[in-house]
Amino acid sequence: MSRQTRRSFLQGAGTAGAIATLPLSLVEVAFAKPGQNFTFAYISDSHIQHVEGSKFVRNWDRGLIRAVAEANLLQPRPDFVMYGGDLAQLGTKAELDHGADMLGSLRGKVHHVMGEHDYYLDLGEYWSKLFGPQWYSFDHKGVHFVVLNSILTYDEWTYERWPSAEQRMLEMAGLDNPNGSPFMVGDRQRAWLAKDLAKVAKSTPVVVFSHSPLQKIYKGWNFWTEDAEQVQQLLAPFDKVTVFYGHVHQIQYNQIGNISFTSAMATAWPWPYPETYAQAESHLPKLTVHMNRADPFFERDATGWQFIDVHTGRAATHYNLYNNKVRTVAFDAASGRPEDTAYQAPGARIAPQSHF
């Protein structure tokens, strides 16, 4: 099917009702001047996994293919697409190439965030060849965007502990593996960030992308960044800061001081909330209303992607849970934090939002 034909087909499918069920996480950042408002799409955690030869895990492929197809249907067009990291499962060229090939169908500019599954085989070498620098910033319609590589760790773990690159990758790939190591942004990158932010007016909205949460939720699964507080400190002087992160494969949102946090769902599979692990204490932000329980018989349930609408420097996220009710998490000016527009009040919640 030619690209033009495929697009026409998707638009046709949209008019037949597909648009109404888009799995959108719509984040809105708005400005005083409506002309400055814009949107972008945010896709993350596809975990493209090589089986052998030309075979890849079908389920994960389908998740990314669906997200790309739906992002291409957005109208009006988003200004760009952010890819939030973990494109690959074990960081191989085969996986990164296959993922890049699927992302190649996206209409418009794509920016990338490094995930640990992309990194720990060759320490980001092939990823960087495909997608460019691992940390950078850019300005877009009055917003300062920063992308960090937040999945670095202690040098000893990275360079000395493992006999092979393959084993290092496998050790970091197991989410609950006690041989893993906590993520961090690191001194070098924080020094760069301080310098980068020095030239930005404090009234400029700042939007930061990292793969791991720049807050500490549960260390056992690396829902964690070791130097989170130090990064938060660098962001503290700005009036409006929003941090988007992947890695957690679930809806999370939080407010710490001036910083609003919003996570992304994965296109591959959802993760349990940390408190569903009975043997350890975790600290899911109290603000977060749980994502609906995923139906294991419906492989795309509780996976998805996000559509971000930038409006007055603040974010409103619309999450569409496949086979479940759509969620909208918007920054509430009155309370000064992101809140679910339908389910924030405990009395408004529905049974699948209580995990056990």
């Binding site: 975990h47 699964w221 009975a278």
Partner: protein
């Protein structure tokens, strides 16, 4: 008198040959059984992260770190997707067939026993609530 003699005889026999009675065991027995159990749990933990359990390299732990969201304490329960009451091993087989694109295991297959032992061990201390959704 005969009854007392019989009791005494039994008591003497029990002391003379410990272990003949199923309800008597020693700290050594307990330690051995515990070690057996922990060995199977460890085997289950290894299988949980093993990409070779199915056929596409996907492992249980990719979606269920620390066997979370398997809630073994709620089984057996009515599984609306199956339309009947099911046990946890049937759900594990569903995962083996679908996300892992592999073959199901018999309920008493040592691998299935190990997977169940591991998932249940990770949920230790949580109260039993069979049937809960």
């Amino acid at each position: 008198m005969r009854a007392i003699t019989l009791v005494l005889t039994l008591a003497v026999t029990a002391i003379a040959s410990p272990g003949l009675h199923a309800d008597e065991f020693t700290p050594e027995d307990l330690a051995r059984w515990q070690a057996q159990f922990e060995g199977v749990v460890a085997e289950g933990r290894a299988l949980w992260g093993d990409g070779k359990l199915g056929r596409n390299g996907v492992a249980c732990g990719q979606c269920h770190p620390n066997a979370a969201n398997t809630h073994p304490e709620t089984y057996p329960k009515f599984q609306k997707q199956l339309g009947r009451v099911a046990s946890l091993w049937e759900m594990i087989n569903w995962c083996l067939r679908n996300p892992l694109e592999g073959e199901p295991l018999a309920a008493d297959d040592p691998k299935m026993v190990a997977l169940l032992a591991y998932a249940t061990w990770e949920r230790r201390g949580v109260k039993l609530e069979p049937g809960k959704h």
